[in-house]
Symmetry: C3
Subunit: 263 residues, 3 copies
């Protein structure tokens, strides 16, 4: 049962406090580190080749986010994925702005090609662009519905033998065996920068304890966001309340709110 | 009428959701992205030459902030301004720490020289130093009154054929045709880092929809800050409440609070 | 008396508003700048060799934090410490993740070796690793008790002729003359990223006004954190409330809560 999977995964994260290595963008480093701490994991932000082999030998997972990509950090991302592969650790890829520029699109695809054990977490426009379909994206905000990205997600699952999470009004969690639709969350969430990035980081924590489909992380994060938004009068409050909600989230609250179905 | 200009500009930003490209400092990336989202715009943080030509072809405006300047990022700033020029897009320059070091002063002036369609947004010490007058600045916080920067602002308007916004207890918005004094805001605002940087980013959103004087952005931001500070017991709350206030701001509240006069 | 030292130091920071130059990690730049502003100091984040000599000529202190270390920023850290030495300014070193990788351990030691006037502020695992003892650390979170780091701290005091602050459930402030135990703070604090980094930054402000033992900063910060946590339902609120508490902190509140003893 999905409900058990989700609850058990949350308990495992809190008990095992997995170390998650993040090469992420400058905009969201603070938020993603705090989201990982709030959910019970131990974040480390690191991008130097000089320490990545050591890092990946004791880390539980690697999260790569291409949000402020440049030629200085790019090689470190590939090196980190190689180290994750060598240590048999899962990789979460957040293809921020994929489709907006050639640099981002090609880098996202090359990283996905390289990773052995991969979860891709993006918004609809990014997933569509990554699969080579036509997205309406011009920046980093989604301009396509998450449903419109379902066939693209299935292409990515096949092309990279990976799991895909599409964030949006409805989240879709797609893998070789099933597709789940999650209807939790809140429409104020896109007004806070880095919500998707934080979900990607949290997905790394769940992957580190063996939940490599992305489903549990997507459910936990959307439910926490939903609770937080209900208590918030705007995106400033929401950013703060989200961390409190992740920290406080009880099994009962998850079970009560979870709105999931298989498609 | 200025009141109509301000209200109409806010409505346009919310309707058109302009994409604003930011090369900004590491300290404020999160806040400035969130300020842009809260006011209704779509932020993207990018600094790589490899994607800047594409970015500026579909963006509405460019914001350059020299807050954590170095020799790695500096060339990307000049390249981005060239791309903005080629695409006929407005550039907002935030000369953070201008006057504190030669690197910042000379870089700010060279960027201003290069930009065709320019708004400079700084504190009094930065504006004074940029114009070559004697400021009391040693760091990034203003040690001069905004009124003392008026003649410097007028020099910059002439030198670079630009608009200038001086932030301070009173904000001054200076261009070839007029000078306006804005008496909104709150004296707790300087206790939050990056308030000026966030205003610069928001100025980019308004420039993108055609309000290139800086007046509407300065008014909207100061009023949101004033509302937020009245609800805050300290700078932590203020940072959060500012985003909520930008998100919730109504035309009526703007009209009720707006305290502007032509000098 | 320690109580007088702490109260007087806080008053001096608020009156003199010392300029503190920070080369710090990308995760915490915003928080540490805000903590410095909230306590009354003036932060500047700068890492470029091109401006560091000027910066250190008028700054009150230098804070070096190796949290997102790489080969691009590393040389700037050494250059900055040299400039601090030349200008006879105190240096605060935060050895983030020391022990987790060779790069961090060796860089921390080399920086400590170089600095003439040094305060080291770290968690127990970092202090233990820096002294060459066996820590349990694998990431950036402490896995050792602060008491277990006391002998390591004393080794560092001797090796580098410095002061050491160990953060943890009990904070220890160790120097050539005495060791103090501080029992303020709150166990929710480790769930917010960069709490230690913010303390290191604030330690720089106090060092700039002549309180170079680290004691006053550790006491003020722990008491502010304690007040903030009591008002917070989770780490999101705590991050916000901490800045409010630092801003609002009264002498009476410090005196009422201070829980210090000499060991």
């Amino acid at each position: 049962m999905n409900k058990d999977l989700i609850i058990n995964a949350l308990q495992k994260v809190r008990e095992q406090k997995p170390l998650v290595v993040n090469i992420t963008n400058f905009v969201v480093m603070n938020n993603t580190a705090n989201a990982l701490l709030a959910v019970g994991a131990s974040p480390i932000m690191s991008h130097s080749k000089q320490e990545m082999a050591e890092m990946m030998s004791f880390a539980g997972a690697l999260v790569i986010n291409i949000g402020t990509l440049d030629s200085v950090w790019r090689p470190g991302m590939f090196f980190a994925v190689e180290q994750a592969n060598e240590n048999n650790k899962p990789v979460v890829l957040d293809p921020v702005g994929c489709g907006a520029t050639k640099l981002r699109t090609s880098t996202a695809r090359q990283l996905a090609e390289l990773a052995d054990n991969l979860i891709i977490r993006g918004n609809a426009s990014e997933i569509i662009a990554m699969a080579g379909e036509k997205s309406q994206n011009k920046g980093v905000d989604a301009l396509d519905s998450s449903e419109a990205a379902l066939s693209a997600a299935r292409s990515l699952v096949e092309a990279y033998n990976c799991c895909v999470v599409i964030s949006g009004e409805t989240d879709y969690v797609v893998n070789n065996e099933a597709t789940h639709a999650l209807s939790n969350g809140h429409d104020m969430m896109p007004f806070v920068t880095g919500m998707g990035c934080s979900l990607s980081a949290v997905t790394g924590a769940f992957a580190a304890i063996g939940e490599t489909t992305g489903l549990a992380a997507a459910a936990i994060f959307a439910i926490a966001g939903e609770i937080a938004a209900e208590q918030s009068k705007g995106p400033g409050s929401l950013q703060m309340n989200l961390l409190d909600a992740l920290y406080q989230l009880s099994d009962e609250e998850v079970l009560r709110r979870l709105n999931i179905k298989e498609c």
